[in-house]
Amino acid sequence: MEKVFQVREFNEFVSIYLGEIGEVVVEGEISQLRLQNQRWLFLTLKDEAASLPVFGIQARLSNLGALAEGMLVRVHGRPRLYQKTASFSLWAEKIVPAGAGALQLAFERLRRQLESEGLFAEERKRALPRYPRRIGLVTAAGSRAYSDFVKILAERLGGLKIYFYPVAVQGEGAVESILEALETLNRHYRNLDLLVITRGGGSLEDLQAFNDERLVRAVFASQIPVVCAVGHEADVSLAELAADLRASTPSNAAELIAPSRRELLAEAGRLELSLQRQLETRLQSAWQQWHGLEQRLERSLDGQLAARRQFLQRLDQQLKHYRQKLLDKREEVGERRDRLQQAIGRLWQNDWRRWQRLRQLLLAFDHRRVLRRGFSLTYNQKGELLRSVAALAKGEELVTVLADGRARSQVKEVDYEEQK
């Protein structure tokens, strides 16, 4: 009995049949490359005799940027049938450049494209903090890269905090694992001063993850500055070109991101010395200022003392002058006194003789002597010495002075004897 298929049934049947083939690798030249809606990839693979439609999901393919029409590639994938229209295609899971130097060509092509987009531009590279404190480290756990980095960093500077995010750096899932690290660190560890993505040396194949377009773009897009160090001697990886700073090895990365404590100690010492010099200079200048004032003060005191001394000297001279004058005067006075004394002496001698004579004379006339001889003196009431009775009247009071006293009496009778 002839089997009759419904269209849908037939397409399904062929699809199942094709699925039996499994994964294949088909080599050919790319023609009509089309990336649609950021999601789908369509290309036609051809050789001299035939062509084959290839379909892919962009998110599951890497290094799409490296692809170009005319490029010889090997497409890893499975044949599929789109059942609705029975369109046959190869579902690509991996597209890698084929032929001699193809990998290198693809690398160059991707590099040129990313460069033209500005991912490697020097002017967009950020300056790293001179003194980082919080450092994100993205590398393989237990790797030489890890221990080298940590060891050299500690030799450079202490007191830092390292946030270590272990990843696979090569092989299956390496790109995804590093992408996840970048995303997590950028989302939850934004206060990191920088990220170090590193691995040790390896073959070109080993280092492929660091040339992956998605990883390069993620490095470029990182909010936290990125230092990338992939140890190899060949070309620089694209991730390194997109990083803010490139280091040659994990150790070199540690050296570049942290200043050495030796340098910093020297710097601190230099600044300290400079401070001390400044202090000394100021003290010196203050001292000089003080010294200058002191000297001025001394000079001024000296000046004043000199003036005083001069004044005293003048005074002294004047005093001497007056003293001399006084001495001269005293001499003069002495001389005059002597002359005066002589004169007085002469006068005195003359007068003494005269005095003696006068005294004799006076003694002779002393009335008291007369009274002692029995005479007396009588005064009237007016105190007039009576020489005559002529003026006396009866009853008049008289005072009689004798040699040793006086007596009062009254006139009883007046006998006037006329002088003959």
Binding site: A141, L153, Y165, S274, L275, R282, L283, A286
Partner: protein, 67 residues
């Protein structure tokens, strides 16, 4: 100086920056002795702390684990 500027709380960067600007200012030569004494004291405090800080040899490592 103010407590918020307490030397021990400064970062390496902040301490160096402050010290450098102090030295620059003093080298400018406009600050007189009396005013500069405070700055000298601060500067020496900073260098002392920097030297102490730079002698630290340990770095702390925290491993980030994804759930």
């Amino acid at each position: 100086m103010k407590s918020k500027n307490e030397v021990g709380k400064l970062s390496l960067a902040a301490a160096f920056k402050e010290l450098e600007s102090l030295v620059e200012e003093l080298e400018g030569g406009t600050v007189d002795l009396e005013k500069s004494l405070g700055k000298f004291r601060r500067g020496l405090e900073l260098t002392k702390w920097l030297k102490k800080r730079l002698r630290k040899i340990e770095n702390e490592i925290e491993t980030i684990k994804e759930e």
